[in-house]
C-alpha cells in the first residue's frame, strides 16, 4: 500500500450568497488516523463534511476521499464512507435491530440479521434491540447511530459533532468507540467544538476559523506554537466531570443505562 491520504482537500470554497463559509480549505488526512476539525459554531465544519460526503457541491477547489473525487465520482465516494451527522439519524418508529437490518440491506449485504446482532452486542444495545428507538436515551441513540455507520466497514468515517448533547458517560463511550475504530484501521474525520475532545481523540488537529484552516498538526506541534512551558505550582481541584463520574459510578464499565 502506498501512503495515499484517505482524504485530500485542496482549496475548497463554498459560499451562500454573500456569505463565505469556506474560503479555501486545505487538509490532508492520512489513512488510518483520527483527525479532528476543531472550530466554533458556524466555522464551516458541517459544510466541509457535507461536501466530503457528497451531500453538497463545492464552489471551487477539489476534494478526494479514498482516492475518489467527490465531484466527479460521487458514487465511488459513497461506497467508501459513512456519515454520522450532527443529530442521530435513526428511524424512531423502527426498533434498534430493524434500523441496523435496514442499513445492512441497503448496503446489499448478506446475513443482515447477523450483522445487526453483532453490532447490538458490540454497542451494548442487545437488551434494547426489540424496543422502538423513540424510547431510547440520547446516548443509546448515538451509539445506534454510530453502529449504523459501521455497517459494511467503510474505510472512511465522518463524525460530525458526535458528542454534542450527550451526557458525560455517553460521551466517554463514544470516545472509546472511536478509538477502537481507529485501532482497526478506519480513517476518522471528526468535527468538534470541544477542545478536550480533540485532545483526547485526535492524532492530528486542524483548526477551522473563518473558512480557513489556520493551524494543523499533532497536539505536540500545536503546543509548540505557544511560548515554551514554564513550571508553576497550582493546587489541582478535581473537575466537575471527575466528581460526577465518581459519584454516579464509573462509566467505562459499559452497561449504558
Amino acid at each position: 500500500m502506498t501512503t495515499t491520504p484517505a482524504i485530500e482537500i485542496d482549496g475548497l470554497t463554498k459560499s451562500y450568497g454573500d456569505q463565505v463559509v469556506l474560503a479555501g480549505v486545505d487538509l490532508s488526512v492520512p489513512t488510518g488516523t483520527i483527525v479532528a476539525l476543531l472550530g466554533s459554531n458556524g466555522a464551516g465544519k458541517t459544510t466541509a463534511v457535507r461536501i466530503l460526503s457528497t451531500l453538497l457541491k463545492a464552489d471551487g477547489g477539489t476534494a478526494t476521499v479514498n482516492g475518489y473525487d467527490v465531484a466527479t465520482q460521487p458514487a465511488k465516494v459513497r461506497e467508501s464512507i459513512s456519515l454520522t451527522g450532527q443529530f442521530a439519524a435513526v428511524d424512531e418508529i423502527l426498533t434498534g435491530r430493524e434500523n441496523l437490518v435496514l442499513v445492512a440491506e441497503l448496503r446489499h449485504l448478506r446475513a443482515a440479521g447477523r450483522i445487526a446482532d453483532d453490532l447490538l452486542a458490540r454497542f451494548d444495545l442487545t437488551d434494547a434491540a426489540a424496543r422502538r428507538v423513540a424510547t431510547y436515551s440520547g446516548g443509546m441513540r448515538r451509539r445506534l447511530d454510530i453502529a449504523m455507520s459501521l455497517i459494511g466497514d467503510p474505510p472512511v468515517l465522518f463524525l460530525d459533532e458526535p458528542t454534542t448533547g450527550l451526557d458525560p458517560q455517553s460521551r466517554i463511550e463514544v470516545w472509546r468507540t472511536v478509538r477502537e475504530l481507529a485501532g482497526r484501521g478506519t480513517t476518522v474525520l471528526l468535527t468538534t467544538q470541544y477542545l478536550d475532545e480533540a485532545e483526547q481523540l485526535a492524532d492530528r488537529i486542524a483548526i477551522l476559523h473563518q473558512g480557513r484552516i489556520i493551524a494543523d498538526g499533532a497536539l505536540a506541534e500545536l503546543k509548540r506554537l505557544l511560548p515554551p512551558a514554564k513550571v508553576e505550582y497550582v493546587e489541582r481541584q478535581p473537575t466537575l466531570e471527575e466528581v460526577f463520574l465518581t459519584i454516579v459510578g464509573h462509566a467505562g464499565a459499559g452497561a449504558g443505562k
Binding site: L55, L56, S82, G85, V90, L102
Partner: protein, 253 residues
Amino acid sequence: MTSYVLSDTAVLLKRSLRHILRSPDTIVTTAVTPIAMLLLFVYVLGGAIQVGGGSYVNYLLPGILLITIASGIAYTAFRLFTDVSGGIFERFQSMPIARSAVLWGHVLTSVVANLISLVLVVLVAVAMGFRSSAGPLAWLAVAGILVLFTLALTWLAVIPGLTARSVDGVSGFSYPLIFLPFISSAFVPTAGMPGPVRWFAENQPVTSIVDTIRDLYAGQPVGDDGWIAVAWCAGLLLVAYALAMRTYHRKIA
C-alpha cells in the same frame, strides 16, 4: 448501481409500510373526514339535493373517494418531512444506494396507504346503501383511475415534504386539494351553478374524473369523459413528477 433501484426501493417500501402498520391511526384519520362528509351529505343535506335518478350515496361516493386521496397524501408529505428533518434522509443520500429509491419508497407507500383508506370508505358507503352494477373490468378501471390520481397528488406532496420548514407547512398544501371537489359535480350537478362557477366546475379535473367513476359504477358507457379524466390524471402526474424531481435535485445539489 442502477441494478439496485428495485431492491433498494423494496427495502425502503418495507420500512415505510412498517411505519404505517405501527401508526394505523394515520389511515383511520385519513378515512374519518371523508366518511363524516359521506354521512353528513347523505343523511343531512342529501335529502334536499336533486341528482336525477338513483340514490344520493351512489352519486356522492366518487367525489368522496377523491377527497380521501387528497387528505391521505398529506401523510406522505409528513413522513417525507420527518425523514428530512430527522437526518435519516441525508444518511440514505450519503450511502451507496440508488438515490431515487428514497422517494419511490415513500410514493409507493402512499399508494398502498391510500388504497386501504379507499377500501374503508367504500365499505362504509356500501353499509349506507351504495350499490354498483359494475363488472370486474369497470372496478379495475375505477381502481386504475384512483391509483393514477393518487400518484399525481403524491408527487405533488413530495414537494412540501422536501421543502417545508415546519409540520404546519407540510399539511397546509392539501387543504385546497380537499376543497376542489366542492366546486365540481362531486356534490351537486353543475347545471344549477351560476355562469363563471359552472364554467370552472365543468372544466376542472375533478368533474371529469368524478363523472367517469360514476358512469363506471353505474355500468354506463363512459364516453369522452373517460379520456379527459385519464388525460388530466396523466398530465397532472407528469407535471407533479417533473416539479418534484426539480425540487429534489435542488435539495441534494
